[in-house]
Symmetry: C2
Subunit: 428 residues, 2 copies
């Protein structure tokens, strides 16, 4: 039976992380956590299994098709979350009365998406999520972007390496209203326009017509995407509207953060998730043409929509796949991790084993990292093995050492050696 | 429709972690990682979604019933892993030729188990896994136990708080052979005996009879569980057999690690997983009567059984649920995390906002953690909010401050204040 054949590969689209793969992953996760904590974001987490009803309700149509879902034995419909925001919204609503707003929360969450086409795309990834809940001013958008830029900077990436394109669904809404398109059609219009480049304009036209947008309005909607500057948008609106002023304040705040030079207005940035209501943004590398590095936006209706008190929100998602590709392409991926133990300990014969154990135990108790051999080995085998970056220093015990009560601490980089008494080491 | 009702609770048996819950979780995870790295274990990871075939093949019968599983759109049978060892074995076999043995690997893995009865048991948990692959001597068992003891010690737990009971399936096998029970029946006998206390002895008898064990042998099998000391086992065996000698060497090594006093021989420790072949062990608290804190053992056939070259293995699993219960029961759970930013920054009016942003940015660039207010607030509201442990220091900017070009850095613990020039802060 086919199902009885055991494959040694992970399931299709899922990743194994061998120790050598953890070096880059830890570098990215550490940069994310450090930047988030430095900005005062509090860490939270939730189980990767979520109720399907919550996810269906609040994500975009495209994502809903791609959710891994299943029933438990009681018939509950469960799913592997494709994104963290609905879960965050659920958690906030559950404790809304007792939380002090605005909240700044972060998590590193594994998310799943079942994509049929697998041109290098994985079916799971990890994602830094930065969210600000309960802040209606654009200082929230600026803070999550500045924090993501802080993580980029920790990874060696600056404005030379990436740029952030932004737009505003609120501004687009104002423009659509000005064109006579009712607010009820806006959400569907955003999702249709977001497909531009992925499906034909003809197919987008059909989507808009099915949504009830009048066929005459459709060319004007496409024309909107030709708007190139904020000033053009303002001129079309005929005034400095609330959404326009928000964008100005957003840029002014980013300037105070020293990162206005990362930003460029791009009206075609819409984002695929249905819940965004305000500023939306996406970061792209400047040299490799990869998919978005991070992205996000404002979602002011999500908490109310799932049944909570109306509360504003801003979120940013930053996946681990594109950033890893970018760091590798730019030669910025770290070669070795920073978690190697301080010293490797080996021994020639079984007779020295317990002394080696005692030395390792004493060194560990003193706070040092000690990589202990688990069986006797020839000096050549020991030094060959530990010379591959196991530890910067090594002790190799032979019968002479234990007889004399001494151990030689070898520094592997320069092959220097220091002789110390074993007694002393045991009291370290 | 029932499925359209959105609940704000996580799915049954799954956990949300609010920021206040992360304090204890991070303390446990940090102790685990630090102890594992200090002993020279290399970190690895794999996706929580695993192929069902692999999991079915290698776990115990009980676990197989409790696996969350589902089909993907291509009909592949996938599952949420109930434990990490089969995945580890798969990863090792996939690269067996290029890996230098023995390997010492660790991971913190989320695992799922669908248990119908839910008396306080969760359906998911995180588990530290420490494994040594390719070491046939009991130094492997001793090293994983010493490393887990190191993690316990980092959490403030010593031999006063927990003890480790151990046995050896190899020794039990020698005893069963001595009683005339063929090796082919041993694995099933272990799994039946492991159920003792959970099901009636009568039910265990039926299990053994169904397995083909002769009814006359069954009372002698039960009598084995009355063996209280290693010496009794040796006397029954009539010689210092290989399994008996291994147990002695194991205890001698643990003595060199300084943790022999944690250990006690208990022939009834068997473990529920079918793949164990040698020494098995479980740690229990001495005061609260909780479930096992950590446990593990030797699995010398697993890699060969799934299709790899025959390679020995020893593993230890240490879950996050029982240790959290124990730390809380003993009053050892940390009250606050150690990730608070250094300083909180607030402001009275919109006019001071951009200065506050610039100060926060400069402090962050200098490596400090800065928690920045996102809108103007009254001094009372600001200090009430940040006084709840947000940060040890605070700057609150009013119009006078920006006019004078000075900021007052308040140390919240003793309410002392230092006045510095904003210019100076910006160049920090």
């Amino acid at each position: 039976m086919a199902t009885d054949v055991i494959s040694f590969s992970p399931p299709r689209g899922m990743r194994d992380f061998y120790p050598e793969d953890m070096v880059l992953r830890n570098a990215v996760f550490d940069a994310w956590s450090a930047a988030a904590r430095q900005s005062g974001f509090d860490e939270y987490d939730a189980c990767v299994v979520e109720s399907l009803a919550l996810l269906k309700r609040k994500s975009g149509e495209e994502i809903t098709d791609q959710i891994y879902h299943f029933k438990d034995k009681s018939g509950r419909e469960l799913a592997l979350r494709p994104e963290m925001t609905p879960t965050l919204a659920r958690m906030i609503v559950a404790k809304q009365g007792s939380l002090t707003m605005p909240l700044k929360w972060f998590t590193i969450a594994q998310c799943f998406r079942y994509e049929r086409t697998t041109r290098g795309r994985k079916r799971e990834h990890y994602q830094l999520n930065l969210d600000v809940i309960g802040e209606s001013s654009v200082s929230a958008e600026a803070e999550v972007i500045a924090t993501a830029a802080g993580a980029m900077s920790r990874l060696g990436l600056t404005g030379k390496h990436y740029q952030i394109r932004f737009s505003s669904r609120a501004l687009l809404s104002e423009l659509l209203l000005k064109l006579g398109i009712e607010a009820a059609h806006h959400a569907a219009t955003f999702l249709a326009l977001d497909k531009r480049g992925k499906i034909t304009d003809e197919a987008i036209k059909t989507l808009l017509e099915n949504e009830g947008v009048s066929p005459e309005a459709i060319p004007t909607i496409f024309a909107l995407l030709e708007v190139e500057t904020l000033e053009q948008a303002r001129d079309m609106l005929g005034a400095e509207t609330p959404a326009y002023q928000d964008v100005l304040a957003f840029l002014e705040t980013l300037d105070a953060y020293g990162i206005a030079d990362l930003m460029s207005f791009d009206i075609s940035v819409i984002r695929g998730l249905s819940y965004y209501t305000g500023i939306v943004f996406e970061a792209f590398d400047t040299s490799e043409g990869l998919r978005a590095i991070f992205g996000g936006g404002r979602y002011d209706n999500l908490l109310g929509d799932i049944g909570g008190a109306a509360t504003t929100g801003v979120g940013l998602g930053f996946g681990d796949v594109v950033i890893a590709e970018l760091l590798e392409a730019l030669g910025l991926a770290p070669a070795t991790g920073d978690h190697a133990p301080d010293i490797a300990i080996g021994f020639m014969q079984d007779a020295q084993q317990l002394t080696a154990v005692r030395i390792a135990t004493a060194l560990r108790a003193s706070g040092k990292g000690a990589h202990l051999a688990l069986h006797a080995e020839k000096p050549k085998a020991f030094f060959k093995r530990v010379g591959k970056g196991t530890a910067p220093q090594a002790i190799y015990l032979g019968p002479d050492d234990t007889e004399n009560g001494t151990a030689r601490i070898k520094t592997l980089a320069d092959r220097t050696e220091e002789t110390v008494s074993i007694e002393e080491l045991l009291q370290a």
